[in-house]
Symmetry: C2
Subunit: 300 residues, 2 copies
Amino acid sequence: MNKTFALAIHGGAGTLAKENMTTDQRREHEAALEHALSTGIAILQKGGNSLDAVEAAVISLEDCPLFNAGKGSVFTRKGDHEMDAAIMDGRTLKAGAIGGITRIKNPIRLARTVMDQGEYAFLAGEKALQLALDYRLPLEDPTYFYTSMRYAQWQQLQTTPAKEKGFGTVGAVAMDHNGHLAAATSTGGLVNKAYGRLGDSCVIGGGTYANNATCAISCTGDGEAFIRAVAAYDVSCLIEYSQMPLEDACQKVLNKVASLGGAGGLIAIHRSGGIVMPFNSEGMYRACRDTSGHITVGIF
Amino acid sequence: MNKTFALAIHGGAGTLAKENMTTDQRREHEAALEHALSTGIAILQKGGNSLDAVEAAVISLEDCPLFNAGKGSVFTRKGDHEMDAAIMDGRTLKAGAIGGITRIKNPIRLARTVMDQGEYAFLAGEKALQLALDYRLPLEDPTYFYTSMRYAQWQQLQTTPAKEKGFGTVGAVAMDHNGHLAAATSTGGLVNKAYGRLGDSCVIGGGTYANNATCAISCTGDGEAFIRAVAAYDVSCLIEYSQMPLEDACQKVLNKVASLGGAGGLIAIHRSGGIVMPFNSEGMYRACRDTSGHITVGIF
């Protein structure tokens, strides 16, 4: 068993303004990132696989009210919460994705269930709830997803046009001691969204992708631009077909996303274990543990 | 104005068995393909753009009960019809996709509306119906989507395990006289599907992709494998990053889909106007008009 492993997580690139963040808020976010990172590290350290690590790290972030996923999901135009998530196994290229789901405490667990169940790869809307019921995944009442910060953000939008885009996402990528890669992403989507809007998080190749031959990627930002750029898979293709270094590939893809009008960022882990966490937004909540054991936590 | 244009269409690669098809059935399918092709050609011939041509060709196929899309959509496990569709503009990389929608006569028109409206790129589930209402797109009662062939197919599945996979899709790719590419795909999805299952048709990069710099693609087959392979965008990347000829790129991608357990096919048009329509299933309903004006119609 090779003792080398690595993990990176993000808590989204939306609604960040350095001048508005107090020192306490900053510490609170950093602590939440550290907690999610250590949750994933604990699994990898004892020989667990990358899929379990990214799922556990994302569950930790979904359970935290600070990030736009799970409990902290933003409000839709109708005042409820619709969540998207996806997970992908770089070893088998198996994937599970869910879009526009309600009431499920941990959307990434439903995405994992879709992947493990194997009949389908992508479920959306109210009907996906039945799979969660069949597998007895924890559900929550709508009140669970109420947070005063998200409610205030949504209320403000009803009277004042948005100055900042209200997106945000959580995600994780990992390489385990066997060199297997995995990626997971989860989000409450775009604040005030309507019409059953899905973002890139649940689009395999758009916001989530993993392949042992190349890399694992989780994106955050303007979902529409990441979908149109097929951003996550583009990073993989630049590595596989153009032999581009991971950092250059990620930068090229973020430039392409920007050319489509999109801001955001991504976390990526190379098949060699190298991690990059670039963004072209004002900030991106992020943390990683590299193959040498060094830990980084950052916001701006 | 360059007078060269080209168009290819498909009516899906599922549920085809050469020995079960009568001469009359074969002629009926060929006539429907010819009708859809000529609908698209008429637009391109008078200088119309590729987006309008692929949309019109797909509407023709959606209105035909023979193919699994629009009127001819398969039955879900619950006995209703849930449709997916997507359209993409190779000039701007704008895209519109919808998944798991009901009652809309022409799902591709809703996908086009999503793209033109521009706020979102991907809608799913019952909530997407509101956009169709806002834009006064034609709706139909559930009875419109009843066809005796699909009903018999679905009924048989309730008692006998499927011998053949009950998928099928329609799609179109085109290059107009300005050299702009476009792709469109529409489907009723997998027969007897449950849990709000979406397929690759509505996944930008999965079953649908267009980019003036490379190609336009519409796929049909085992949706889950095409999603995991990010098949449509993979063809584009092999052209862009590996300088692979279109035919080789499509074959490589179908081989990858097959390695993931998936059968099916795709239609592709290169930025130079060249068309290929490969498949690894028993057949694929297909037709094309190449840049020289030559018309091909095929099933097996």
